[in-house]
Symmetry: D2
Subunit: 406 residues, 4 copies
Amino acid sequence: MSDVKKVVLAYSGGLDTSVIVKWLQETYNCEVVTFTADIGQGEEVEPARAKAQALGVKEIYIEDLREEFVRDYVFPMFRANTIYEGEYLLGTSIARPLIAKRLIEIANETGADAISHGATGKGNDQVRFELGGYALKPGVKVIAPWREWDLTSREKLMAYCEEHNIPVDFSSKKKKSPYSMDANLLHISYEGGILEDPWAEAEEDMWRWSVSPEQAPDTPTYVELTFEKGDIVAIDGEALKAHEVLERLNKVGGDNGIGRLDIVENRYVGMKSRGCYETPGGTIILRAHRAIESLTLDREEAHLKDQLMPKYAEVIYNGYWWSPERRMLQAAIDETQKNVSGVVRMKLYKGNATVVGRKSEQSLFDESIATFEDDAGAYNQKDAEGFIKLNALRLRIAAGKGRQQS
Amino acid sequence: MSDVKKVVLAYSGGLDTSVIVKWLQETYNCEVVTFTADIGQGEEVEPARAKAQALGVKEIYIEDLREEFVRDYVFPMFRANTIYEGEYLLGTSIARPLIAKRLIEIANETGADAISHGATGKGNDQVRFELGGYALKPGVKVIAPWREWDLTSREKLMAYCEEHNIPVDFSSKKKKSPYSMDANLLHISYEGGILEDPWAEAEEDMWRWSVSPEQAPDTPTYVELTFEKGDIVAIDGEALKAHEVLERLNKVGGDNGIGRLDIVENRYVGMKSRGCYETPGGTIILRAHRAIESLTLDREEAHLKDQLMPKYAEVIYNGYWWSPERRMLQAAIDETQKNVSGVVRMKLYKGNATVVGRKSEQSLFDESIATFEDDAGAYNQKDAEGFIKLNALRLRIAAGKGRQQS
Amino acid sequence: MSDVKKVVLAYSGGLDTSVIVKWLQETYNCEVVTFTADIGQGEEVEPARAKAQALGVKEIYIEDLREEFVRDYVFPMFRANTIYEGEYLLGTSIARPLIAKRLIEIANETGADAISHGATGKGNDQVRFELGGYALKPGVKVIAPWREWDLTSREKLMAYCEEHNIPVDFSSKKKKSPYSMDANLLHISYEGGILEDPWAEAEEDMWRWSVSPEQAPDTPTYVELTFEKGDIVAIDGEALKAHEVLERLNKVGGDNGIGRLDIVENRYVGMKSRGCYETPGGTIILRAHRAIESLTLDREEAHLKDQLMPKYAEVIYNGYWWSPERRMLQAAIDETQKNVSGVVRMKLYKGNATVVGRKSEQSLFDESIATFEDDAGAYNQKDAEGFIKLNALRLRIAAGKGRQQS
Amino acid sequence: MSDVKKVVLAYSGGLDTSVIVKWLQETYNCEVVTFTADIGQGEEVEPARAKAQALGVKEIYIEDLREEFVRDYVFPMFRANTIYEGEYLLGTSIARPLIAKRLIEIANETGADAISHGATGKGNDQVRFELGGYALKPGVKVIAPWREWDLTSREKLMAYCEEHNIPVDFSSKKKKSPYSMDANLLHISYEGGILEDPWAEAEEDMWRWSVSPEQAPDTPTYVELTFEKGDIVAIDGEALKAHEVLERLNKVGGDNGIGRLDIVENRYVGMKSRGCYETPGGTIILRAHRAIESLTLDREEAHLKDQLMPKYAEVIYNGYWWSPERRMLQAAIDETQKNVSGVVRMKLYKGNATVVGRKSEQSLFDESIATFEDDAGAYNQKDAEGFIKLNALRLRIAAGKGRQQS
């Protein structure tokens, strides 16, 4: 284990990763570089500096990655209307590739030969961190303390803290929650505790980012979202950066009780787990994006996108952002977004994010053809007969030859 | 045109199809058989008898198809979590195959050589009726009056009525609506009128089956839905027939403002159209079915279902229910539903249909493995290392050879 | 019919399209512009000029499109390893988009308002020409004489010639064949005649581009094909233009009895038809391209390509080259070809095109890992245990809960 | 390691698995049950009995599984026209599920708690054996000696033999080959040796099951293959069992130089490997099956099969035969095969397996419609206009609104 000289750790500043700092130093007798990023998790990142220093860390990286996160990861993913298993908006999954990329870049900058993270051996996140790491630096050594050490209970962890003089108030406030949580600009997630019984309803006081629909205002809020090439660039006419869009929508969505989700999902490592999620802004974006696409996408490209989406979601969920198959799918998706521009009007009300209008200069909706009124010859109804006849031909031949018909 | 001897008409009893009866008799000099079905459209079908008789029809079929409709068409479709273009629950599409089948069966019983319907030449329904007809009776003659006649405005239609003594009160009440509507047990749809402008918000008084979320009760309603092999067989413990399930869920869903939808969709004939839909029961079933599947389906079959679903939806939307490709997809879908049994608990509140619990004797959720607590060795975290290493191998080799990494 | 002023006709110089020139002039009282292209069909195109002049045509376009055809249509298609229905290399399909594009461009140059072609109403080619035409010039008028006129037998056609002084030697030599044929640089096709019985073996003297395997040389020929980004750029080290590659491979392939195919295929218009094809060069390219990809593509992008290919083939076969869905798929395919460079060595012998070696500087084949000999730790066999254990986890959980196992 | 009481070993009777018998006895201090199956590998299985007895094995299973193998595994797979990565007929992959199933059944019969096999830690076979084992008996212990022991070179293995009195003539004749080989009724495979250089051409004397095309007879052989529901049931009119079909076709195919393949493939464990295969019978079946399907399958089900096939191939290649996703795909495939009956006539000549005729009472080929001659009104060419117009509508609308056209 002595072959590691320097390791870059994804460091939250919380108790667990503080223990990891010490454990790495001790176990591998190596230098630890900490990397703490603001990706919108809603906690100050600057305090991590003093904590890392207190643990003897000399190279400390603290960065605001919010814009990059939304612009280069969240938005490209939403271009595909990505949902995992029909429900999950991939809030945790999409943050990992960026962290992995920065871990590797910092390893290269600091001459580190290893990276480390605080994810357990049961979950998806270890896979996402490590696949990213290996894809970007094939010879990197990965240290996953939770798979190695024997600090397998809270008691042992606390004992280790005491023994090594790690201040227990490093324990972040959120850790007092009975849930395992993760947050970034796209969502906050909850696992564990009573959620381990899929029949048990989540308790109201678990949720942190949104009011319940019951508590939301009694009057609706309307927003107008302006898209350019598939991404939202303005809200109610005000131009915003990518992360500002998401922050704004999280606020208005959360205020209106939007974006709560309670599911059982299939992890890549082979087990089912129950998770609750709040994704207020993402829930709004998803519906709005579909609405602007409904006007501006050709039917066949829209259908092909829908057929590819589950695969694309799986690729991201499983941790293969930094892979040729993701780039291949992204190329197809992005090719379709050139004309996905326009405005969507939404009504937000007590948990409902409803599309009530959409318009676009790139609209393919042709009122003169679609109308129930006189279309002045724009569409020749007689064409439908030939259309149907030839589409039916294979079915008629089969039936004529006595094939099963129903 | 004189080669048609007898034609079976899908007859609603309304003004338009009453005109068609007369027009067919005149134009083709043939006998007309009327077929009127109760598929849950919410209007009495029996009055169609007197109207048909008044028009000189001798063979009149009036049938209650509600159970068959839900059991053999709606439920099989929901087994696939079917949604067209990410939003539409296919309420109109799924009713057409049954009508087409009965038209052909009645043609065979009565010795008719033709069938007819009241769908226009611009829409999907003509395609669905006719593909079904041709698939089930390849030599059948199809008469689509809207593609043939010159009664292309309401005025001409009224003039025709007057001229032919068709009582104008044949005009059903719903036709006073400015919208083109269609209803069955699964949904009611609205098109035309101000909806032809996709930016215009639908007016509150258009909606007929649901209250608005604003008008819905201030306290939630909980329901427990029991599934067997993918279909709901009981609500709150009470065993129900298929159509009773849907009727019950339409009621409770509509009362809670659930199931409204406002979209622009791509028709099979090549144009975009804007439609509004109310699908209260279907909206509940879709979410509940996904929830019971989340416990009982294997991950890979679930993902494969998700990948096939858009194609299956397209097949149904485009009118190919009676096709080999639909049977092929159905075989795959039904194979997965053997263990999709259990109970889902849902909270219905002001437009929200939220899953709050799910349980099943066929559950694949393994709490002893998924737990954040000590799992007593049920899962060996060290296995994850090899899992990740080999999944990363192709990426590492590529990166090691200098391939693009990001 | 008098609203057409000028029509651009895809003119082969043969009897049928010469009749069409006259028929268009007469029927539509319009000017006809002829367009004749050399796409490698193996016949002189220049003689078409005198024939067109003799028919009174004033604007005559004769063009050599061989390079553009192979570079911009054939090669992009082969990047996807495109095969329709498991067998057909799409030789006819891929030529139509280029013809359609030039028809429209010439219409725009000459101020024509219509285009015309000599394809029948039963086949795929009418669809391909017309979809291309409409996609590139939405208001264009399309005239398809074979769907309109009454010259439905060879006798009537000959009578028309006599009546209108069209020299019968306009009838090209190939028309003496009992088969309907089509040729371009990618292939020559045969339909009709005795082929209409799918049980009948094609006669040896039908085939024109290849010797039979029996007649091919008794010693093999080896060729080395150099790929750059998915396309062949050199043969046996000699740099060649796209069409020269195909010409060269057609020659050496045909000489070795390679590329004959005899199939029943499903036309887009709904019927099955039997066709025989000779595609000597294409058959070689397909296998060689797969071989160079086998070294240079990542597994998952390769598998995704294979899953998308049938759709891509269908898009091209059905005539949707000029569509957003084709561009979307092409974007995905082309994204994967950046590293598809290297050399493939093939053995050609009596109908067999066999890959016997492949090498590439972009190779992902890692001998040090794959070896059966000592790999010096490049691959840790123990990783396989965890890999298998976690991949098996979902299956084990299901079996442990008594699920069907076989 | 002492917790294993009895282990069932897939025993070939060769040197390697004989060493494994001894090593298991020693290392785990457990009883070993041997299982040797004839799946058409071309070697006597009965001699394995004496060898096992000499090693002290008391429970010895020797079975002829040839019919079951072809009937229940090979034929179902060929119904899907299964090919991995465009080339490989999955000869090794498809034999593993049956072996895994018998290992588990014998474990259940003999009260064994473990299974073992002789596959290495680098290949696919370990995965296939073990996934099958875990899927069928979730608590089984799997012992993979090649991943555990230190007998990592031939020298160490030989030393172990000497030390333990394992007669070296247990080494089967085929092991003198420089290649790693595997054989069953579907194919024989070669890996390793000079094949580890993908540029090196395989040597002629490597191939064992087929003559080279050069050495094959100068006159073709014709065979007629009779299909019922997708499987071959007779050759030249003679009814045969499944394995007899394959044996017969291997003979005639091999005699005519058919079925050699030389590829680089992507293993599930993440590396590329080069393999050569002889699959004479399978090569013939694949083409014949496509030919009978070309007459009897509907177009859309055929295309859907083609789209699903790569996934199905991947499932089998990766070892997931005993999985819900395989059963789901099989249900779809088998649904399509009900009418895949008829006769295919093939010409076999010097490496070429060419379809020259096909006929079926279930044929959907309609000569009266497809004909180039007068079709007496069976097909109305005018229908094509409407068909094309409506299929073009979306493209025309887009072009009319100025969208990219080429």
